[in-house]
């Protein structure tokens, strides 16, 4: 094994990452992925010393470690692909090919990921993209988006249907591309960087910002105190409960079940209002900052939170009990959008999607950060992989998170006096930060140059893996069940498009 092993939020010297020949690099990472406890968290390329450096990060869930190795290649080179052997790499290799101009000899479908502004081949535009099509008199194609009927983000969905039945779904994204990763390098001010991290995905502000500040602090050799760790964990867990509750409302709405939509929708509000009370923003923007905070979580806030839960929890439980006992609701959710354990393993799915198929991908237990290292987190797992499993996971994670939150707010750590620290990252460093957001694992990864400036910043939202899961789940379902399947994953467009 010729790879360097590091932990979540550990800084290493970039030059200590072994550089292998491409064949060796490929063989080693493919062998690693044969083990079920390993999955690829990030695989990217960047220009380095006039060549292209490929860096592959594989997380080992049982060893709590991350194995990093790298290889050097040149632009316009044609390489054998990892994907031909392990499909979990498909999106990463498509991204590398699109950004770096590397060709692959045996990649099964090298379709563009997001048409970034700095792509290698400017001639690749969505306008001339050949969508997958079938020449048949019996089948018909339905194209949805990028402008959607519901007010959500843009994405294009191309269905090939046999009557009402979906045979194939192709998803093409990239309409939300803002160039987040290059903006991280351009913006020199730390505050600008944090605000960028906050705007990666509006529904995962706490998740992405925690990933960024943890990464920044590890690059600067700063260890956040117990108070900051506790604050960040509280923010992550409130965000998890709020979005999960909102998702249950959205699921109810898609099956036209009015009480669920009304009650779950209402229950989301007190949670995000608690963020408003805490930091003045309902989406937790401005809350999390590197090496300090403007909004310490106080005992007064804790009292208000606990009081709010007294009425919140009975309402939630009552609604859930009605919801999951109603035959009409179950008829729509059960056995809809089924994914198998084998499929989620193949595509390297993470988060709720993986856990609904009995695949335990959960950073909170495998690579714990912040307060999670003090609790022995047991992931909520389901086996059936249908829409109902994903709804059940949401409900049980809400219950679990409420337990963690009660524990956290009842036992607030002694606060250290906050002073604004101007930290500077160590030169020539490499670090990875993994965070379990409500949607799944977020991976931020950075390399600094010899002046301590960011040289490369990679963001990976869980949606990057999971969009494929949606495409697989809707196969052989009715096309009218697509909205409810889509909502059960609730993937991010902007988190994917960056």
């Amino acid at each position: 094994m010729n790879a360097i092993s590091l932990n979540n939020n550990e800084r290493i010297v970039f030059s200590s990452i072994p550089v292998l020949s491409y064949d060796q690099f490929m063989e080693q990472n493919l062998v690693l992925l044969e083990n079920d406890s390993c999955h690829c968290i990030s695989y990217f390329g960047f220009h380095f010393d006039g060549k292209i450096r490929l860096v592959c990060c594989i997380a080992d869930d049982t060893q709590n470690s991350i194995l990093v190795s790298s290889a050097v290649t040149l632009k316009d080179e044609c390489l054998p692909s990892f994907t031909a052997h392990q499909q979990a790499f498909h999106a990463f290799e498509r991204e590398i090919s699109e950004n770096m101009g590397i060709g692959y000899t045996d990649h099964p479908w090298l379709k563009p990921v997001r048409y970034p502004a700095n792509r290698a081949d400017r001639k690749l535009v969505i306008g001339n993209y050949p969508f997958y099509s079938i020449d048949s008199d019996e089948l018909h194609e339905v194209g949805v988006g990028p402008v959607h009927a519901g007010v959500i983000e843009p994405g294009h969905f191309r269905f090939i249907c046999n009557g009402e039945q979906i045979l194939h779904l192709e998803i093409q994204l990239g309409y939300q591309h803002r160039g987040i990763e290059s903006l991280f390098l351009e913006k020199k001010n730390l505050l600008q960087k944090v605000i960028l991290a906050e705007s990666i995905a509006g529904d995962t502000v706490a998740g992405h910002t925690t990933a960024f500040v943890n990464l920044w602090e590890s690059l600067c050799n700063y260890k956040a105190g117990k108070d900051l760790q506790s604050d960040r964990t509280i923010a992550l867990e409130i965000e998890r409960i709020a979005v999960h509750t909102g998702d249950l409302a959205a699921l109810s709405n898609d099956i036209a079940y009015q009480p669920g939509s009304a009650v779950f929708g209402r229950l989301r509000t007190p949670l995000i209002n608690h963020f408003q009370l805490w930091c003045g923003n309902r989406l937790a923007k401005g809350l999390i900052r590197p090496a300090g905070t403007h909004f310490p979580y106080t005992g007064q806030l804790a009292d208000q939170f606990l009081r709010m839960l007294e009425s919140w929890e009975p309402d939630f439980n009552e609604m859930w009990n009605v919801f999951h006992k109603l035959p009409g609701v179950m008829g729509r959710l059960e056995k809809t959008g089924i994914l198998s354990n084998e499929q989620v393993r193949q595509i390297g799915a993470v988060g709720i999607t993986a856990r609904s198929c009995n695949l335990g991908r959960d950073i909170r237990s495998s690579h714990p950060h912040d307060y999670y290292s003090q609790i022995n987190h047991q992931s909520v797992m389901k086996r059936h992989g249908d829409v109902y499993s994903r709804a059940q996971i949401r409900r049980e994670e809400i219950r679990q998170s409420l337990g963690y939150l009660r524990q956290l707010v009842n036992d607030l750590p002694v606060r250290e006096p906050y002073k604004l620290l101007q930290l500077q990252p160590e030169p020539g460093s490499f670090a990875i930060s993994l965070v379990e957001s409500w949607r799944g694992e977020i991976c931020h990864c950075a390399v600094t140059d010899k002046n301590g400036e960011l040289m490369i910043y990679k963001v990976k939202d869980p949606s990057f893996h999971n969009w494929m899961a949606l495409a697989l789940a809707v196969r052989n379902n009715e096309i009218s069940d697509f909205p409810v399947c889509n909502k059960s994953f609730n993937l991010s467009y902007c988190g994917h498009d960056l």
């Binding site: 339905v142 036209a256 079940y257 008829g331």
Partner: protein, 301 residues
């Protein structure tokens, strides 16, 4: 004449009552009762936009659809007062004039060339086809029971005397309510609220309609509901004098709207493939009415 005027009056409030019921049940204040009418008036003042690919079919379809419903309303009687048009076999006319309007909506949806509207048209055609026997077995049974073939004669000769006839009356009301929900594309068959083009039936067919045309189509929903409500109320209005029959009519329409609102509040929409089964189930309830009638007329035993 009186039926026509009353149905028109009720149609203005019907969707408003459904929406208000749903709002109250979900704990919201909700829009005013007349909001749907205001929306329709606003739409009618607007001009329509027509796609370049659509032909004259698309332009005339909303008008034909609307007038077909008006024609159907004309044959609906009110207690002892017959409809404006009344002749032997007018319930066949009633069913097929409605089918004609629907047919034009379907071909107009296909005319737009949109893949969504094609899907909606195919769904609408399937469910209307399945709903047709439900209606004919139901009215045919009463025709057999009374020996008459026009709505007016059927309803005035219909008198409830035995337990079986009460049972058939109750079942007929149920079938007519569910049929009205199906024909109007409401829950549990279709959800008018979702606005997800992949799941809709009727709503997806009218995606390309705008302005006056859309206003007509939306108003038709209220009119259709009121028309089915009038049919149901005829089961309850005997040859009462007007000062009793009109309040009974309004009460029946009001409870119909509330029931529709409650159904929409407490049910989830069916899976698309289960809709056909649901309509089959309605057809079998119709058959039970038919058997009940055979029992009553002594044709079975």
């Amino acid at each position: 004449m009186i039926a026509f005027v009353l149905i028109f009056l009720v149609s203005l409030f019907f969707t408003g009552f459904i929406n208000r019921t749903k709002s109250i049940v979900s704990g919201r204040k909700g829009p005013g009762i007349l909001q749907p009418v205001r929306d329709i008036l606003r739409l009618m003042k607007k001009g329509s936009v027509y796609s370049e690919t659509s032909s004259v079919i698309f332009r005339i379809a909303p008008l034909i659809y609307f007038s077909s419903i008006v024609m159907a309303v004309l044959v609906v009687p009110f207690g002892s007062d017959s409809g404006l048009i009344s002749f032997d076999g007018d319930f066949v006319f009633f069913a097929y004039i409605l089918a004609l309007g629907k047919f034009f909506m379907i071909i107009a949806a296909l005319d737009t060339g949109s893949s969504f509207e094609g899907m909606g048209a195919s769904r609408e055609a399937l469910f209307s086809m399945l709903a047709e026997p439900v209606f004919f077995v139901l009215i045919g049974s009463f025709s057999l029971l009374t020996g008459c073939t026009s709505f007016h004669n059927i309803f005035i000769s219909l008198n409830f005397s035995s337990y079986i006839s009460y049972a058939t009356g109750a079942m007929a009301t149920f079938v007519l309510i569910m049929l009205a929900m199906t024909e109007n594309s409401r829950l549990p068959v279709d959800d008018p609220k979702t606005h997800l083009e992949l799941t809709m039936i009727h709503e997806v067919m009218i995606l390309d309609n705008s302005g006056f045309d859309l206003g007509l189509i939306l108003y038709s929903t209220g009119l259709k509901f009121a028309m089915y409500g009038a049919l149901i109320s005829n089961f309850f209005i005997d040859s009462f004098p007007f000062y009793i029959s009109i309040p009974v009519f309004l009460a029946v329409q009001f409870s119909f709207a509330v029931v529709a609102g409650l159904i929409e509040s407490f049910m989830a929409r069916f899976r698309m493939s289960h809709n056909a089964q649901f309509i089959f189930a309605l057809a079998s309830v119709s058959l039970m009415i038919f058997i009940g009638v055979l029992l009553m007329t002594g044709k079975l035993i």
